[in-house]
């Protein structure tokens, strides 16, 4: 099918790339907190969905949902700080499994609270951006997808510059390299951790707002986003931004093709299966040198 109808392949590739840029943005947040605080946040996807609901509510109250891209990160930053103060600061220097389980708890909590607050319907915020037709009207690209990819790139660039130039960015990078040394040199690591988690949540907020414009959101859809970002991070490695972008797009394209070839009902399943396969592949590659994934 893929070769018989080349236009479907082009469509899937373009869709996948635009989608993948969004995934990369979420994955960047995950890489950030993983690198700095050494925790894996299972609630990442639920933060994304919460950001999406912020944009959706603006849409319900008659404000154009695109403004959610600015409002959602601001709100989500404080949500992130609150989660950090309540839970995460107690698991930062503990075993990674503790952080996985604790954030799993947060994830269940968020899922259910969102279910109560917003209902269990699949919703989307309509942006009225229209569509772009390419290749003789054979390929249809919603403008909202192009808009969301553009905004994601914009935010990623801003963040990279911020991490390079600002004082807090320097402190975050120093803490990631060596938390103890940073502490000795007068960096308030507690504050840095809180800010990192806040920035991560804000990134999730942006991504969520964009997802609510381009796709649909639902309270229980969080976990796949966590798994996707985890997968992107382990493929690209921590602190490798071009790698994150590339593997994000790769994942997007893979998903679109899986959707076309296997059918939509196997889409999420294939994502999770891909994670397992990637981990097994890396495990065998490393075991030749008698090493293992660290």
């Amino acid at each position: 099918m893929v070769f018989q109808y080349p236009m479907i392949s082009v469509q899937a590739c373009l869709d996948g790339i635009l989608l993948g840029i969004l995934f990369a943005l979420i994955a960047y947040g995950m890489a950030l907190q993983w690198g700095v605080m050494n925790i894996i946040n299972i609630a990442q996807g639920d933060l994304v969905i919460l950001g999406g609901y912020i944009a959706y509510f603006m849409y319900l109250y008659g404000i154009h949902p695109a403004w959610g891209v600015i409002v959602a990160p601001v709100i989500m930053y404080f949500v992130g700080i609150a989660i950090y103060k309540l839970v995460i600061n107690k698991v930062v220097d503990r075993d990674l499994f503790i952080s996985i389980l604790a954030t799993f708890g947060i994830s269940i909590l968020f899922m259910q609270l969102m279910n109560f607050a917003f209902g269990a319907d699949v919703v989307l915020a309509n942006s009225d951006y229209g569509t772009t037709m390419l290749f003789n009207n054979n390929v249809v690209l919603p403008n909202s997808k192009i808009f969301s990819a553009f905004i994601s790139i914009l935010f990623a660039i801003c963040l990279v510059i911020y991490m390079k130039k600002s004082k807090l960015g320097r402190a975050i990078r120093a803490t990631a390299q060596n938390a103890r040394a940073a502490k000795i040199l007068g960096v308030d690591t507690e504050k840095v951790y809180a800010a990192t988690f806040g920035i991560n949540a804000a990134l999730c907020g942006v991504a969520g707002a964009l997802i609510s414009i381009t796709f649909t959101i639902h309270p229980y859809m969080g976990l796949p986003y966590t798994i996707r970002s985890f997968m992107i991070v382990i493929v690209a490695g921590l602190g490798n931004l071009p790698g994150v972008a590339m593997s994000g797009m790769g994942l997007g394209v893979f998903e679109e093709f899986a959707d076309y070839i296997l059918g939509t009902e196997f889409r999420i399943g294939s994502v999770f299966l891909l994670l397992v396969l990637i981990l097994i592949y890396r495990r065998f590659k490393l075991s030749r040198k008698r090493e293992y994934l660290k």
Partner: protein, 349 residues
């Protein structure tokens, strides 16, 4: 030792008498037995081996589907059964039902064991959180994929064969209760005898330092796979029983329910105390009582309570009940304590 045997006999008598003393709680008690089995077997590789898996739900769900499919497929065409959904065109006679159940449980226990053996070599090479996330992915993937397969009911679910009419109304509850209680006793005996062998020491060595264990000449991979297979065996069995007990199998809500059962088994083992024999049993009992309380009094808010409970247990109570008791009364656990040394350690903390 004498105390222990009295305790065992007491529990056994209580277990056998329970459905007649508390007839209203038969189903709850059966579920409790299944939960204890799950927590105890999770503990084999989660607590003793140090491989924290979210993926044992895979074996549980597999066992559930297999048991029901075998039970139906032995006598009737499976596809037509699932297609007809709730309206049953086929009825099992009692003999067929029990035969099917017996064979089904056997398959439900053996196939997951084989699956664990097959995937064990690749998956158990991962360590720590990679293993945890990989198994999480495995569990969810299994749920999503089984939700797309037509012959086992796809999205609309699979109704397991209803209990045949054998004359007595209480028969169903008693049958499932004794089935799960028997499984529990079997699991307990198996796990207890495993824990008194060298095998347990090897598992503990793997947990404490895998590289050193390997350097000491232990074939860690072999033992890890065996540990996981034992876990899978009892998970599959528990799944098969639970499928019959619930009477309805849905891919993501009942069978491969990583959000509920998959987390429950981890939580129960941690609540009771990882790496102890009695910990998961106590943990599962306490957890089940709490859970039923939540489900009854906070209807609708149960998952919120559950989320909070997970966070609180993990952050403030990672040692579990047994760990806490051990800290408090070390003499009871046969540890000789030097008071001075202990005080010094407490001060250091």
């Amino acid at each position: 030792m004498k105390n222990n045997s009295i305790l065992y006999i007491g529990i056994l008598i209580f277990g056998i008498a329970a459905p007649f003393v508390f007839p209203a709680f038969k189903v709850q008690l059966s579920i409790l037995c299944v939960l204890i089995v799950l927590a105890t077997t999770w503990n084999i590789q989660g607590g003793e081996m140090g491989y924290n898996s979210f993926g044992n739900i895979l074996f549980y769900g597999l066992g559930m589907y297999l048991c029901a499919s075998v039970q139906v497929g032995m006598f009737f065409p499976l596809a037509e059964w699932t297609e007809s959904g709730g309206e049953k065109t086929f009825v099992h006679t009692p003999a067929q039902f029990f035969q099917g159940m017996a064979v089904g449980l056997l398959v439900a226990a053996l196939v997951p064991t084989i699956v664990a053996g097959l995937i064990g070599y690749s998956i158990l090479g991962l360590r720590g959180h990679y293993f945890a996330i990989c198994t999480l992915g495995l569990g969810v993937a299994a749920g999503e994929i089984s939700g797309g397969i037509e012959i086992i009911g796809a999205g609309q679910g699979f109704t397991t064969p209803p209990f045949p009419d054998v004359g007595s109304l209480d028969a169903r509850g008693e049958f499932f209760y004794f089935l799960s209680f028997f499984t529990l006793v079997l699991t307990f005996i198996a796990v207890r005898s495993i824990y008194s062998t060298r095998f347990k020491l090897i598992l503990n060595a793997i947990r404490d330092n895998e590289d050193k264990a390997e350097a000491m000449g232990i074939e860690t991979m072999k033992y890890k796979i065996i540990g996981w297979m034992i876990s899978a065996f009892f998970c599959g069995l528990a799944g098969g029983i639970m499928g019959g007990l619930v009477g309805y199998i849905d891919s993501t809500d009942v069978a491969f329910d990583g959000r509920e059962m998959g987390v429950f088994m981890v939580l129960m083992a941690i609540l009771g105390g990882k790496g102890t024999l009695w910990g998961p049993i106590i943990g599962a009992t306490v957890f089940h009582i709490f859970k039923e309380g939540f489900w009854t009094f906070f209807l609708g808010w149960q998952y919120v309570a559950l989320g909070v409970l997970i966070v609180v247990i993990v952050i403030y109570f990672p040692e579990g009940i047994m760990g806490w008791l051990r800290e408090k009364y070390p003499e009871r656990f046969g540890e000789v304590v030097d008071e001075k040394d202990r005080k010094a350690q407490v001060e250091l903390k």
